[in-house]
């Protein structure tokens, strides 16, 4: 049984009509009942995503804060992305790296990778997220692993957010010292997915959906999930994202599952989201994720503006990006030219940098983010985790992975709870 089977089982139950019926039937009393529960069922998760829950956001926020402080303390971990390459063979309709966009394509050389790494390390950041476009002939798994080995001396924790890999390729990355992966399914709606991804390897919904599981099997310590909110009904995609994390965590108990909440913002000339996701909606999704999975990390990226990000700090968020550039080579460029040269920041000039994947809304540096986090009474964490033994953790995970066979026996997922048979 894979996540694919879980989606297939649930998709008819949260198709438009039954989902609307459930959402209309949910009451504020139902929400209050869910907030008192220790263990939440998938139905409870849906209740937290309902319009009724939207009228109880403050109650949800109090519960979410309590759970977050209990599991994480008052801390926010900082990280930054490093774009290795923007070569891409996909045509995701919402993405700036879309193969049909005529933008300069670039892949960092060894020297450029090290220069980017040094520029980032100089800001104090120690958690790095490596990104590439989907172009195996340019930025293949070997290239990513090679980049990780170049960067490992500077960063105790390296994660990747790249195209879907095979079991063997994830194992290759784990061997290279990469301990985390993020994979956005974009939308869990299998009918909508091919419309948004008209060409390229990413068109394979199923292969992408099961990528987090392959990564977990290969020994990735941390696995991040997310739907690009706004592509489909955000309630349905948020529901499946949380279900995905829950399922993965139960099947691979050694994995730290986490969620990201990227959302599409409407703006001129670009892809327009089919479903608008307001700040209010975004907060509801974050709170629902937290209350459904109290131990899961939640990441808010610099897609969101500074003021909103600051307000989200006490609501369940555990990770935030800082000093962000979504352009290839953006960090070293900034070091040379100063802040004003950044093209990837909304409303800023056209100076010198490469094309960004998306426009960011919070241009704050690591220092500025740390100060904002501290001002809210939280501690900014630059280095949250480091392997105790060189290569030791991977071995431990591999041992744990061996104890969890991929047969049906492990993590049989029973959607309805409380279950009538158990």
């Amino acid at each position: 049984m894979s996540m694919y089977d879980v989606v297939r089982e649930w998709a008819p139950r949260v198709a438009d009509a039954p989902l609307r019926a459930f959402m209309e039937a949910a009451t504020p009393d139902d929400v209050a009942r869910v907030l008192r529960k220790e263990r939440l069922s998938p139905h409870d998760l849906l209740t937290l995503l309902s319009p009724a829950a939207a009228t109880r956001l403050e109650d949800m926020a109090l519960r979410a804060r309590e759970l977050t402080v209990r599991h994480f303390g008052r801390t926010i971990q900082l990280f930054t992305p490093l774009y290795l390459s923007n070569h891409c063979t996909n045509q995701c309709r919402y993405c700036g790296f879309n193969a049909r966009n005529h933008i300069p394509r670039q892949r960092l050389t060894d020297e450029e990778i090290v220069a980017e790494g040094r520029a980032i390390a100089a800001t104090g950041l120690r958690h790095l997220l490596l990104l590439t476009g989907d172009a195996r002939h340019v930025s293949g798994p070997q290239y990513i692993a090679h980049a990780a080995r170049l960067l490992a001396p500077l960063f105790p924790s390296l994660s990747v957010e790249v195209y879907s890999l095979t079991d063997e390729e994830y194992a290759l990355l784990v061997d290279a010292g990469i301990d985390g992966m993020t994979m956005f399914q974009e939308t869990y709606n299998a009918a909508l997915y091919p419309e948004l991804h008209p060409a390229g390897p990413k068109r394979d919904y199923h292969f992408r959906l099961d990528a987090p599981e392959r990564a977990a099997r290969a020994g990735m310590r941390s696995v991040g999930l997310g739907a690009l909110l706004g592509l489909d009904d955000w309630r349905r995609d948020a529901f499946f994202t949380a279900l995905h994390g829950y399922w993965l965590q139960r099947r691979y108990p050694y994995v730290d599952a986490s969620f990201s909440v990227p959302r599409l913002r409407p703006h001129a000339g670009a892809f327009q989201p089919a479903h608008t996701v307001s700040d209010h909606d975004l907060v509801q999704v974050i709170l629902a994720y937290r209350i459904f999975m109290p131990s899961a990390g939640i990441t808010v990226s610099s897609r969101e503006r500074a003021g909103l990000r600051d307000n989200l700090i006490p609501l369940g968020v555990t990770r935030m990006s800082a000093g962000v550039s979504t352009a290839v080579g953006g960090h070293a460029v900034r070091e040379q030219n100063g802040h004003a040269a950044r093209k990837d920041v909304e409303g800023q000039g056209d100076g010198g940098g490469a094309t960004p994947q998306f426009e960011i809304s919070d241009p704050r540096s690591a220092d500025e983010m740390a100060a904002a986090i501290a001002a809210r009474g939280y501690q900014p964490v630059y280095k949250d985790w480091e392997s105790v033994l060189d290569g030791g953790y991977g071995c431990g995970i591999a041992c744990a992975a061996r104890r969890t066979p991929s047969s049906e026996l492990a993590g049989n997922f029973t959607p309805a709870a409380p279950s009538a048979t158990a």
């Binding site: 139950r13 039954p18 019926a21 459930f22 209050a32 009942r33 008192r36 529960k37 263990r39 139905h43 849906l46 956001l57 403050e58 926020a61 109090l62 804060r65 309590e66 402080v69 139960r250 108990p253 700040d279 209010h280 907060v283 003021g307 909103l308 307000n311 006490p314 609501l315 104890r403 969890t404 066979p405 026996l409 492990a410 993590g411 049989n412 997922f413 029973t414 309805a416 409380p418 279950s419 009538a420 048979t421 158990a422």
Partner: protein, 266 residues
Amino acid sequence: MTHDTHDNDTLVIGGTALTSRLFIGTGKYGTDSLIPDVAGASGSQVITVALRRVDLANPRSNVLAHIPSHMRLLPNTSGARTAEEAVRIARLAQAAGCGNWIKIEVISDSRFLLPDGYATARATETLAKEGFVVLPYMNPDLYVARDLVNAGAAAVMPLGAPIGTNRGLRTAEMIGVLIEEIDLPVIVDAGIGKPSQACEAMEMGAAACLVNTAIATAGNPVAMARAFGEAVRAGRAAYLSGAGPVAAATADGANASSPLTGFLGE
């Protein structure tokens, strides 16, 4: 998208649907002739028995003669100190024509009588592969429980307190973890001394309770069996009904002076 209701609430183990969630034992009775009345009063459908060498000098009557024919027999492997002995006893029990259910019990510490999780998992794996419906008795340890799941167990049976102590749900927190994490029926075995404790286990979401000593050693075992049957039903009904409001301790500024989501209205 309806929630489960109390109707048709059955516990399915090894393909068998049970309507009673109380398992009873046959040990420690003053006289085995009480067993039919105890079984009837409890409403139980599953009853445990043990396998022993015949005492050649004094062959006693067979306990099976006292067990109502509709009940599912659950032989245990008591007396086994190793996985191999447990496997051997299980095969003998099956050969005796008592079906293919087996409660694995591997105990090599005769002072505390606590089960050996590693040996239990090994015996479970062997027997599940042979087609047994394996219900292992265990400490409520998450890792052992996962090993048992992987070994093919049909349920896990964590102890509430050391066997025969009647001390209640001393391990409630850990049993709660198993109920949350393990996708198999969690049957609380050992330690339950009073009906209220069985009820509490069921309210927590246990799939069933196994009660032997508390019934067998009661002043009136038949009346106590009835009380346990009612307690288990009440606890199960409460679990399915969803807990009502409990006045929560105000946590971490639960009455914040400035609302956490106030910024959304700005």
